[in-house]
């Protein structure tokens, strides 16, 4: 019995890695550009469908597809910011919510129109089912473990990039004060777009993993957004490691909830979020 519970928690922690990967991109855009991209989850789903098309329609091996997707997502994020989001950045809340909300609806329905409403999964080969048996009833899937490790590495790399590189300093400067950044000669629009390009790459990485591990369909976007949002808020706005912790908390809550009833899975995640949020609204590691 104890083994089963511990196993569930372990599964939850591993799932938390995937959730953290979803959330890391949102955390960057929230911390740097100070807006919540409501279409975030849908963009993840969009890229998952792209990976699906590359692997099934064009017959590419999964790894090749994943590598191709990365520069595409960087460019996509850069252009999205430069051409659309830049125009509403710094304006009223309403403008940003409306534009990203509209984008969310467009992407969801565009996907539905193009791919239909069926749930999909990208075949990942042996790695998907490979499991490490630790004994005591605890099993660790190789894929979830790989995802978790990737998530930790991603957070580490991004944290480093943001706080220890010159580009990171520029991004943080623009995020602190756009007018002053302009005065110093930083091209703010370009820097924001680069930051969004980086967000795009994180979306690409998490989408590729998600496509192989879980089922997805055109309407999966909102649930990813909500999970990412909860991870970011629980972790503390602006903290990447906090986002990792937040993702794990939500995932563990969902895993334990799923034990009672499939219907409790989502609800447990939300309720734990609300509970932790009420106790500590600023998050676990606020900046």
């Amino acid at each position: 019995m104890a083994g089963a519970v511990i196993n569930q928690i372990v599964q939850g922690v591993l799932l938390g890695g995937l959730y953290a990967m979803f959330a890391v991109g949102l955390s960057l855009s929230v911390g740097v550009m100070r807006f919540v991209n409501i279409a975030h989850g849908d963009l993840i789903v969009l890229i998952s469908f792209l990976v699906l098309t590359l692997t099934t329609k064009l017959g590419m091996p999964l790894l090749v597809a994943a590598v191709i997707v990365l520069p595409v997502t960087f460019a996509g994020g850069y252009l999205l910011q430069r051409l659309l989001l830049q125009r509403v950045l710094g304006e009223s809340v309403l403008s940003i919510v409306l534009v990203t909300f509209g984008l969310s609806v467009i992407v969801q329905n565009g996907l539905q129109g193009t791919y239909g409403a069926d749930t999909r999964l990208v075949p990942g080969g042996a790695i998907v089912t490979a499991t490490i048996h630790l004994g005591g009833g605890i099993n660790i899937g190789v894929l979830p473990l790989a995802i978790f490790i990737c998530a930790v590495v991603l957070v580490f790399v991004l944290d480093l990039a943001l706080y220890r590189t010159r580009l990171g300093a520029r991004i943080r400067a623009v995020s602190d004060d756009v007018a002053s950044a302009n005065l110093v000669g930083l091209r703010s629009a370009h820097i924001y777009a680069v930051a969004m390009g980086i967000v795009g790459v994180t979306i690409g990485i998490s989408a590729a993993f998600m496509a192989v591990w879980t089922n997805f369909d055109p309407t999966s976007g909102p649930s990813r957004l909500l999970v990412a949002f909860e991870a970011v808020v629980l972790g503390g706005l602006g903290s990447l490691w906090g986002t990792l912790a937040g993702g794990i908390i939500v995932a563990v809550a969902q895993s334990i909830g799923a034990q009672f009833d499939a219907g409790w899975q989502l609800l447990a995640g939300h309720l734990v979020f609300l509970a932790v949020f009420l106790i500590r609204p600023q998050g676990l590691f606020p900046k």
Binding site: D176, D177, S180, A181, L183
Partner: protein
């Protein structure tokens, strides 16, 4: 060093008016600054001095008239472009990047600037206290220290024209003294300096020429050596 009348002025402001919606903050102003020259703009609070500087770096809402830098018309240029041309502003209220360290703040000025001559080491020589606090976040510094960082950041960009907006505001006199000690040093490198100040004596003490601004208009222009204190006071207050 070049005198104002001999060459194309570094900065030439012609019949400039600056508007915020309907409000005319600057009213048809002409002024110029030559390379290696220190020019002071003095005037009371709200006289339009800051708006003037903002217009030069492209941060004003709406302007009429012309601003030329080294002969080139700045109309329609974006602020980062203007900064890249060689104009650096030490803004009112310091406006550092609060979450970045002192060193990061300074280094940004250097990176995006013309990267010659003045380097980080030199700035630390001028302002030793900054070297001690180089890794601290800018928001943790005192007002005077922040002003030093703002100054240093502008200098590191190696500008041809340095604009200073009320750098003495809110600072202790000793601190302000040490800042003003720089102006002559900057001048000897051929950099033009345009200082906006409420403190008349300090700014006139370093200036080659000055303009007195009242309610957006230039009421008096001349050289400190050739103008009496009384006359300046008269035009400052508009009596």
């Amino acid at each position: 060093m070049a005198t104002a009348s001999d060459h194309v002025p570094l900065l030439s402001v012609e019949r400039l008016s600056v508007f915020y919606d309907q409000f005319r903050a600057v009213d048809v102003v002409d002024l110029s600054v030559a390379a290696g020259e220190v020019v002071s703009i003095i005037g009371a609070n709200g006289a339009g001095k800051s708006s003037l500087l903002k217009a030069i770096v492209g941060q004003a809402d709406r302007i009429e008239g012309k601003i030329r830098f080294e002969g080139r018309d700045l109309t329609g240029c974006a602020t980062p472009e203007i900064a890249a041309m060689g104009i650096a502003l030490v803004p009112e209220g310091r406006r550092l990047f609060p979450s970045l360290s002192v060193e990061e703040n300074l280094h940004l000025g250097w990176e995006v600037g013309r990267r010659q001559e003045i380097g980080l080491a030199e700035v630390f020589e001028f302002f030793p206290v900054l070297k001690e606090r180089r890794r601290q976040k800018a928001r943790e510094l005192s007002g005077g220290q922040q002003q030093m960082v703002a100054f240093g950041r502008a200098l590191l960009a190696n500008p041809k024209l340095l604009l200073c907006d009320e750098i003495s505001l809110g600072l202790a006199p000793l601190v302000v003294d040490s800042l003003y000690k720089f102006i002559p040093t900057i001048k000897t490198r051929g950099i033009g300096v345009l200082i906006v100040e409420q403190d008349i004596s300090r700014s006139l003490a370093v200036a080659d020429r000055f303009y007195c601004v009242l309610e957006g208009r230039v009421t008096l222009a001349g050289r400190p050596s050739e103008t009496s204190r009384d006359e300046v006071m008269k035009h400052y207050f508009g009596v």
